[in-house]
Symmetry: C2
Subunit: 371 residues, 2 copies
DNA sequence: GTGGCTGATGTTTGCGTAAACATCGTGGCG
DNA sequence: CGCCACGATGTTTACGCAAACATCAGCCAC
């Protein structure tokens, strides 16, 4: 921090030549491709300040027992040389990297991205960096590969934003000292989990529509291999049964707007379908298009409710009533949880659910027959 | 890789106690909170395999000159102890971290996210990890803070996904040995830049609409402080002037669908507006809603073209004609460029533009008067 | 046969940092 | 007055790894 305003690029390390060149046999030009200008080390700073390197270390780490005058000199020397602690050496010495690894299957869903962003922000606030490990194709080998790399990588803990069953085969190679927190799954018995309250949100959605007078609620679900989708579908069914209604057949999409459109064409053909709960906003978007094309008005003929509350949801035609997921909170809690586990070396698993919030816009209304 | 299928969690390091405990004075329980079970080091493996630690190193790094029999023994010992190279020590010794830092202002735009994803994937393919540094609020202090951290952080190079003018004040503290590549800017004279060909794409959009017979093309631009927006606006104006048309007044949004809606209400009121080029798809979405609400049909009365080709664009009402940005390619080229610069220690700046592609859907048509 | 060469392996050393321990004044107190 | 506690600083050492150099056996050529 203190050296934030040192000289611009080429002027760095101007006055004193950091040790190197002749004196160090092998290690002069460290950074590959750095024209021999090694970065200043603690020893260089110590020499310039006329103290021992240990004193530099003490200043660098903010220890109390350093004379004010000495401290000033050291800081001055640091500034002059543009000294930056070498994090590799630090990590080696301390045995921790101050880095959290995030493994994720894809960044193409809003949820994953927003969660990741929140994780990065929270981690930064705690002095941790975030290393990203995306897994392009979700074969088990891929996942395993990613984790293999993560282990050799400099991470103290791992947050997984991914359907947990993709992780199962990889579990065995998690090194015992790395704590893991998982998002987006219901594997609370085997992992520490932080997630949106899928079931609660779904119940809210269903009850909202029933409350408007709809006889039952159709569900445009996510793909079969997604636990989150499964969970929402289960909760939808339960909520209907609890209310004494008969759940209509489940219609599936794959989270994409396109798949929502296709499913929507089916639903539009059913006269008895007056209310649809879509498992995410993208599919709801496609659904809206299909209903529009088939002349079914929303919300007059059919009510639609989404899940996620993506930023665009308020601009759909009509603006979409949906369940807001607080991804920022999920990300924040992930970091909290993983750091707590790390610090306490806590092997216990816990599940933290973040509630959703119903955002009432213009895509839901009482059914035609109730008017 | 060889140790991918070693024993599950608790069985790690079963047979041989890695050195530690009594023999090492200070360094027994390294990882904080690890109940004293230190991870195995090269020395431990060497002891078990009955070779020197250097031979272990050679096996670990795949050097040729190791006897096949010896190699097998070492690999077996590694497996038994669950040995993983310590990346901190490796980084310290080698003087590089095999990590690229990505600094970005926000992950709420599709472009940034997709670019980031491509960067992470490409970097992984090159054996590099990606460390993420989001800057929540774009004040200069924030940016500076992020870079400060990056320097102490373990990165060999930096990719910036951010309007470059936000970076200017921070530049001075970039350490001289870190190569930088910037996305999303036109600062080719000061940085190496990889970006979508904004101007080319814009020209394509304008020409497409003029080609359909529209007298002129309106522009729903991005915020004033965005270079990308500025660039698209400039190119739009130029393309019109080149074609001998008079550019109508510029209407601005802030990239959001909401802002597109508000701007759209204005545009909908102008009878002479028959074609709009929106600077991104989100704003186009809002624009579509506004036009719909005001009874202006798309594309019969007004043609709309977007920019980005977000996944949802094909599900808009109507499906949006837009310019596809190849973010994956941008990300890939970023990694290529920054690694090349690193390896050659290349101080030269270059600009790489990735072309766009017109995706023709249903939101554009000839103007009413041409029919 | 002996010198040199090659391939396989061991030994030494140092990367930059920070804990542990050592030293060295100074001042307070018995 | 001398001893000791204490604050400030210096010295040693080890973190884990991998270059550089050293060693050593076997083998070929002259």
């Amino acid at each position: 921090m203190e050296m934030a305003e040192r000289a611009p690029v080429s002027g760095a390390g101007a006055a004193v030549e950091p040790a190197g060149g002749a004196s160090r046999p092998g290690g002069a030009a460290k950074r590959p491709g750095t024209r021999g200008r090694a970065t200043a080390s603690m020893a260089d700073v110590a020499r310039l300040a006329g103290v021992s390197s240990q004193t530099v270390s003490r200043v660098s780490n903010g220890y109390a027992g350093v004379n004010e005058e000495t401290r000033r000199q050291v800081l001055a020397a640091m500034k002059e040389l543009g000294y930056r602690p070498n994090s590799a050496a630090r990590a080696l010495k301390r045995g921790e990297f101050r880095t959290i690894g995030v493994i994720t299957f894809t960044l193409s869903t809003t949820g994953n991205v927003r969660t990741l962003e929140a994780i990065a922000t929270s981690a930064a606030a705690e002095g941790y960096a975030v290393t990203l490990l995306p897994v392009a194709v979700p074969t088990q080998d891929e996942v395993r590969g990613a984790f293999s790399r993560l282990e050799e990588l400099a991470v103290d803990a791992v947050i997984v934003i991914m359907e947990v069953h993709l992780l199962d085969a990889a579990t065995v190679i998690l090194p015992p000292h790395v704590q893991v927190v998982v998002v987006d799954s219901d594997a609370g018995d085997r992992y520490t989990v932080v997630d949106t309250d899928q079931a609660g949100g779904t119940r809210t959605a269903v009850q909202h529509l029933l409350g408007l007078g709809h006889r039952t609620v159709w569900h445009l679900g996510g793909p079969e291999d997604s636990f989150a989708a499964q969970r929402r579908a289960d909760a939808w069914r339960e909520a209907l049964v609890e209310a004494g209604r008969t759940p209509p057949p489940l219609v599936r999409g794959d989270w994409s707007a396109e798949s929502g459109y296709h499913a929507g064409l089916e639903l539009a053909a059913r006269e008895d379908c007056t209310a649809v709960f879509a498992a995410n906003d993208q599919m709801a978007l496609g659904l809206l298009r299909a209903l529009h094309e088939r002349g079914r008005r929303v919300p007059e003929d059919v009510s639609v409710i989404g899940f996620d509350d993506i930023p665009e949801a308020g601009s759909f035609l009509p603006p979409l009533t949906t369940l807001h997921q607080d991804f920022a909170e999920v990300g924040r809690l992930c970091v909290q949880a993983v750091l707590r586990k790390m610090r306490r070396n806590d092997p216990e698993h816990g599940t933290t659910l973040v509630p959703t919030r119903l955002v009432h816009r213009e895509s839901t209304a009482p059914p035609p027959e109730a008017r």
